[in-house]
Symmetry: C2
Subunit: 489 residues, 2 copies
């Protein structure tokens, strides 16, 4: 039952040949931006630009029409104006193209009777084997096949476990970019816009079945078949985690949704109730969405709600405590044995050794943090360690010495030693470790510290440790993860 | 009645001579970090390092004890261990030092009877004219006099209207750093730690009276005299805006507060009720605190709650609508005249011209944004314009052309033209304009885009326009500002 859908989608996600109908040499046109993106990211299949003028576009021979292309075309990207759309669709149908994505807009989302009528006509083409994505979308990103969205020339070519579906192309474009630095990698990302044919339900079914997709996330404005949508989600309950941002839940948001993709926003209570029943992780902003994906990607199933928080600079610990408790996480007192050990290792003065542990000074040598990590590792009442390091103070001190040494910032970094401590504590006690490195170098002059921040972040991430820019964000993401784990276990 | 307090504080904030008791040549000691910080930021008064060994520290002659210093000492920074503290305080008293700050910790915050007893003894020195800051604090930052906290060597020397008080030194250190890039400038910033003498009430009184302070913000863990604190705030209601983060409102947070500064957290309901009565802007995280200060600094009193939101990429507008409505702001429909004008300027296809305005493409030329800004400016039902620009897409396109041109990124920027549009629309229609430039370049390789981001942000800020990194943050900060304005008007 699902098999034909999987096969149909796979021929879209992994096309051997594709045509860009409406390809253009004009750098500002979608017809050039999408063609360039696919060339730049390194799609390995055959690309056929189609333009009535023929000639050459981006170094490729352009065909005057689809029928002129020799041999089969698996997939077509359509960027022609609305007026030329139906002719293009007819040609696709005649050439037995397996799937098309329509970037063109001006249909249901205009809110006009003509727009709605045209969209219904487009949908009628989605029969006899040809699936349609869009209209009014940015397309498909599939790092494995080298297909990408507009503008996604710069996205990673690494494949990963995240399947992403979105009615907003802009969010896809942003997410692909942000994800790159965060080590979030995708199996497929699909911007489906108005969703006249392929939409949330089919995409969910695909991702549930797709072996390459382990975590599903999405941005939804509305769905046509609400009962089917919620039924699919319920059937998946406890299988693959689904993180959804349902926008347009307020009156103003609902109005905006309608003129964005022509969807109906729907009632907040219905959506929230349905999501909860299905075990969906519901988020309310793009930052929350990204942080939740990140947490599900990096945290092992054992990451639990009983936390040890450690760092230097007391406001951080106090704030942590407030944030964590509000989110339903706990910062339990250490066991007497563990507390005794800590007291033997650190002077009481200047340090607060109960959990959260505040080592007073923001420049904490990794050897000191390691002692606290080991103590927390040993404590049977603790599941997860949150290690806070304000990189700035260390680096700023270092830069002073650098003036004399002429060596790169990274050579003075605490990171290699702290990473080693993280790895050893994790291996020895089997507990999850989350790093928090607040970013406080907003100044244009201090960009070298931001560069070093990213280098260190990458080092921790590569070793499997998530790094958040603030405690509040780490706490919010962890809370989603912990609630989900509690539900499925 | 308040005059003596003002005079006493001014002799602390603007000392002509200061001693660092416990000054050290060891780079890792507070006694060196604070001395270096004051030297590096460029304090113009006379600095006397005091160390029993004498000699020279950081190029300055060190005195073996305070009495050896010739002439008066206005202010003393004490970093000696707890055991040597009382001798230092006695010497300060004998030399008629007007104020001291005690960086040393190990008193009330240890939670021990001895700690509490010593703290009470310290407080007894705060008589006969000598005011005491701390213990367990990071000190004072006063850009006008060149005094700074530990570690605040790098803070701005520009004076500004923000008075900041904090029980957390770490937060002061972070805020001074973050503020630099955001154009937030301070009259004074005071880390008062345990607050055995100078504490929240006196500091509020000072800031209320201080002509150089126009906006007051603070991080509070607890206050000794709750009724006086709330009375002072109530008396100020509607005068100077006060933004406060009261930490430790949860049970876990309250426990952390106690071991951080030895304060009592207090009940959430009491604090929130008291703040509301006094018209205090209450915030719950450092990010929210900073964003609120930023909004109060940059927004004119006319910035109201009826918003026009414009940008490219629809998810942004939908998300904006949801966030704004949840915060009590409105995104009203444009008047028919204005909507007609917009429809005459833009094709309906690909654009959503009702408010929020979505121009479809994230690369919107400033000339197009200007048309929407002018229309919104003209609309009598709109107070504030939120202009969203995703810098990344513009810069990324530009970088492609750069490979051929070898010119800096900034030369291709939309910023000069968009800034001009902001200035002209503001001048012509008298409406507030807020910019949102999402940051999506988290990748280590794309640091040049982050550099350009900061350059553009600085250009808008210098011209008086606030720039937020996300819509949600802009909305939250604006909502605080609008609620405050509604209360005082």
């Amino acid at each position: 039952m699902v098999r034909p859908l999987i096969d149909a989608f796979n021929s879209i996600f992994y096309p051997g040949t594709l045509a860009v109908i409406g390809a253009s040499a004009d750098l500002t046109k979608f017809g050039n931006i999408i063609l360039s993106a696919i060339q730049e990211i390194g799609y390995e299949g055959k690309i056929y630009p189609v333009n009535p003028e023929g000639g050459e576009i981006n170094g490729l021979k352009a065909f005057k029409s689809l029928p002129e292309i020799p041999g089969p075309v698996d997939f077509a990207i359509i960027t022609v104006p609305a007026s030329a759309l139906f002719k293009a669709l007819e040609e696709c149908r005649d050439k037995e193209v397996k799937g098309v994505e329509i970037l063109t807009s001006g249909f249901k989302e205009t809110g006009t009777p003509e727009g709605r009528k045209m969209e219904a006509e487009i949908a009628r083409f989605a029969q006899r084997g040809m699936r349609i994505l869009g209209p009014n979308c940015f397309g498909i990103y599939c790092p494995e096949s080298g297909l990408t969205i507009l503008p996604g020339q710069n996205f990673s070519r690494e494949t990963g476990p995240v399947g992403f579906l979105s009615q907003s192309g802009g969010l896809c474009a942003d997410l692909g970019q942000i994800a790159k630095g965060l080590g979030i990698r995708f199996s497929k990302m699909v911007s489906y816009g108005n969703g006249c044919d392929v939409a949330a339900c089919d995409l969910l079914e695909y991702f549930f079945a797709d072996e390459k997709t382990r975590i599903i996330a999405g941005y939804i404005e509305g769905v046509d078949d609400g009962p089917r949508f919620l039924r699919l989600l319920r059937e998946n309950r406890g299988k693959k985690p689904v993180i959804l941002w349902k926008a347009g839940l307020t009156a103003t948001g609902g109005r905006a949704v309608q003129s964005h993709t022509g969807s109906m926003g729907g009632s907040q209570a219905v959506w929230e109730g349905g999501f909860q029943q299905a075990g969906v992780i519901q988020v309310y902003s793009s930052e929350e969405l990204i942080d939740a994906i990140y947490a599900f990607l990096f945290l092992p199933a054992t990451a639990g709600s009983r936390l040890a928080v450690m760092g230097g600079g007391g406001a951080i610990s106090v704030a942590a405590s407030d944030s964590l408790e509000r989110l339903g996480l706990s910062v339990p007192s250490f066991s007497p044995t563990v507390l005794r050990k800590l007291k033997a290792s650190f002077p009481v003065v200047g340090n607060s050794l109960s959990n959260p542990v505040d080592l007073g000074n923001p420049m904490i040598p990794p050897s000191m943090l390691r002692k606290v990590m080991e103590a927390a590792g040993e404590d049977g009442g603790i599941d997860t360690l949150i290690v806070i390091q304000i990189l700035f103070y260390i680096l700023y001190q270092v830069r002073h010495r650098l003036a004399r040494h002429d060596r790169p910032l990274s050579q003075f970094s605490f990171q290699p030693e702290l990473l080693k401590a993280c790895q050893e504590v994790k291996a020895r006690y089997g507990k999850s470790i989350i790093l928090v490195m607040p970013d406080i170098t907003t100044d244009g002059q201090m960009i070298d510290l931001e560069i070093e921040w990213r280098r260190e972040r990458d080092a921790y991430q590569t070793a499997g440790f998530p790094v958040f820019r603030s405690l509040d964000r780490a706490a919010r993401a962890l809370a989603h993860f912990v609630r989900y784990q509690a539900m499925v276990s």
